[in-house]
């Protein structure tokens, strides 16, 4: 059986903390998820939501962002969907070079997508007609990769 919640927020950074709190509280309902995995999910969801807020800001979009959180028996799935009209190509967002590479310090961003990839057990980015959806999945034990 799947249970879930849906959160619709203005595309503003002030709501990030709320999103993290709600997702962490939902994840805590799953007895198979330990604190470390909930923390992983909290960061990954924050990254995805930050990207969505940036996408809206870049386009001056007033649309809202939707965060769906589904609790299944063996996993928690979170989908962050923005409604910015131009979806991005994940291939454009490959990790920058190593931090000690010459000139790397000139570039302060680019950690978000690689972090999501390592913190979640699965991450998928889908381009939609009107926006982008990022799906993050964290499995409960025994698939727990901690």
């Amino acid at each position: 059986m799947t249970q879930g919640i849906k959160l619709v927020i203005p595309a503003q950074p002030e709501y990030l903390s709320l999103v993290r709190s709600v997702v962490a509280a939902a994840a805590a309902l799953d007895p198979g998820l330990g604190d470390a995995r909930i923390e992983d999910l909290r960061i990954a969801v924050s990254e995805a939501t930050t990207n969505a807020i940036e996408a809206h800001a870049n386009l001056g979009s007033e649309e809202r962002i939707t965060i769906r959180c589904d609790l299944a028996d063996d996993r928690i799935e979170v989908e962050v969907q923005d409604h910015a009209t131009t979806g991005f190509d994940p291939a454009d967002l490959e990790a920058p070079g190593p931090l000690d590479a010459p000139g790397r310090l000139d570039y302060e961003g680019g950690f978000g997508i690689p972090l999501m990839r390592v913190l979640a057990d699965e991450m998928k980015i889908r381009s939609l007609d009107h926006g982008t959806a990022v799906q993050l999945v964290v499995y409960a034990s025994p698939f727990n990769k901690d």
């Binding site: 990030l16 940036e54 302060e108």
Partner: protein, 117 residues
């Protein structure tokens, strides 16, 4: 909705310590960036960012630390961090930040340390 990050500033030998509490994300990082830039422009080039009371940091916050490090070093200074617990260390490791950002003893920022247990 008001989101606040608290930053208190103190001096320790040649170091200026910025003790941060709260959550560092897209909403609060402009405040931390402003504090760091302000200190450097006042000539306080040896900075320690104490993260002991930070409940959350994401890539946006890490970007501010890198920006501060770069700015301090470009003027002959340095930026170090303290109060890094296992949770934060994991994020530092995953992003490679650990290789460029020194984690120091909050009572002696000249001394590099491991992680708080």
């Amino acid at each position: 909705m008001v989101v606040m990050l608290n930053v208190s500033v103190s001096s320790l030998a040649s170091w200026t310590v910025l003790r941060v509490s709260g959550e560092i994300d897209m909403a609060t990082c402009p405040q931390l960036r402003q504090e760091i830039v302000g200190q450097i422009s006042q000539g306080n080039l040896q900075l320690v960012i104490d993260l002991d009371a930070v409940d959350f940091i994401d890539s946006t916050g890490l970007g501010v630390l890198i920006g501060g490090l770069k700015r301090a070093r470009s003027q002959g200074g340095d930026l170090r961090v303290s109060g890094v617990d296992e949770r934060l260390e994991r994020i530092f490791d995953l992003t490679g930040l650990r290789d460029v950002l020194a984690v120091v003893d909050p009572t002696d920022p000249d001394r590099e340390v491991g992680v708080d247990q």
